[in-house]
Subunit: 198 residues, 2 copies
C-alpha cells in the first residue's frame, strides 16, 4: 500500500508516521525504482503496536524503542523473550535487582508454580509497598486466592505464545499490556454486579 | 497526637498536611482551648487514603476530593457505595452512559454473574477498544476464563466489605485501587515463572 493508505488503515497521521521512520522505529517503505515507497502488513502491525504501547500502556517513547529493539534483535528462547519483554514494558520507576523482602515473603502464601524472577519480583515488591503504605491489609488466604486466579490465567496465556520468536514478542508485549485494563475493568464490573445484588 | 507526630507517622510533610486541611480534604485537629491542635487515628487513616490515591492510583486531586466527598456524605447501600466509589476512582477519560456495544457483546461470553452496570461497562468498553486498536484478539473462550477468574476474586472481596458504610467506602476504594497493581504484578510473575520452565 502507499503511505496515504497506511495513514487511513492505521489512523496515525502522516507526520507522525514520518517521525517514526526518521527515529528508526518503523522501517522505511520499499522503493523498487519507482518514485513512491510502498508499505505492507508488517508496517501496519508495527504501527498498531507502537500506538497500543503509547495509548493503552502509556509508555514513554524510550520504552517503546526498547520493545522495538527486542523485536528487531529477537531472542529465540521463550523464557528470555518474556523476561525481556516484561522488563521493557515494566514500570520504569522499579529498581530491578534490589532486595524484595515483602515479595519473597508473600510468595510463600502463593499457590505452587511461582518462581522469584526479575523484573516481576520488583513489581510485586512495589505493589506490596503501596498496599502497606495505604494502611490496607491483604491476608495470606487472599494472596493465595489471587495467585491461583493469576496462575490459571497465565497458564492459558503462556500456552498460547507462538513458537516463532518475532511473533512471540509481539504476542507477549501486546497480550500483557492490552489485557491488563481488560482484567481491571472485569474485576470492577464483577464487584459492582455482586454488590448491587447484596 | 500532635501535628509533628502525624508528620512522622504518615510520612507526609507538614506543609502538605496544612494544604490538605486548607483544601478541606483533611479535618483540622481538635483544639480544646490549649494552643496546639491534636490529631487521631482518623486523621492518619485519611492521610494514608489520600496518599494511596495519589501515589498508587495516581489520581488527580479533583478525583481524590470526589472520593473524600463520598466518605463524608456516605450512602448506606453497599451497591450504591460501590458504584459511586468505582465512578470516583475510575478513569476520568471514560464517558459514562455512552453506548457500550463491544462490552455488551463481550459479556455474552462471560460466566454468569455479570450485570451491565455503569461505570464499569464504560471501562470495559474502553479496554476492548484498546485491544481492537492494537490489532490483538481475545477469543470468547479466553474472555470466559478471564471473567471466571475475576468473578472468583470479586466474590471473595465483596463478601469482605464491612457493613458500616464509612468503612465500606474506605475498604472498597483502597481494595480496588491498591490491589490492581498487585494482580498485574502477580500475572506477570506467573507468566515469567511458567515461560522460564518451557
Amino acid at each position: 500500500m502507499q503511505i496515504g493508505e497506511l495513514v487511513a488503515a492505521s489512523g496515525v497521521p502522516l507526520a507522525t508516521i514520518k517521525y517514526y521512520i526518521r527515529e528508526g522505529m518503523l522501517p522505511a517503505g520499499e522503493t523498487d525504482g519507482a518514485r513512491r515507497a510502498t508499505y505492507d502488513e508488517e508496517h501496519l502491525g508495527r504501527l498498531r503496536l507502537i500506538r497500543a504501547l503509547l495509548t493503552v500502556a502509556e509508555l514513554p517513547l524510550s520504552r517503546i524503542k526498547a520493545v522495538l529493539d527486542l523485536l528487531d534483535h529477537g531472542e529465540t528462547d521463550t523464557g528470555t523473550v518474556l523476561r525481556k519483554a516484561i522488563g521493557a514494558i515494566g514500570d520504569p520507576s522499579i529498581t530491578e535487582g534490589a532486595p524484595t523482602p515483602r515479595a519473597s515473603e508473600a510468595i510463600g502464601s502463593f499457590v505452587p508454580g511461582y518462581a522469584p524472577l526479575e523484573p516481576a519480583m520488583s513489581m510485586l515488591e512495589k505493589s506490596l509497598d503501596g498496599i502497606d503504605a495505604a494502611g490496607f491489609a491483604v491476608s495470606p488466604e487472599r494472596l493465595r486466592l489471587y495467585s491461583q486466579a493469576m496462575l490459571t490465567i497465565a497458564e492459558s496465556e503462556v500456552e498460547a505464545i507462538p513458537a516463532e520468536p518475532h511473533e512471540a514478542i509481539r504476542y507477549t508485549v501486546l497480550g500483557t499490556v492490552v489485557v491488563e485494563p481488560l482484567l481491571v475493568a472485569m474485576r470492577r464490573l464483577a464487584q459492582q454486579s455482586l454488590a448491587s445484588g447484596r
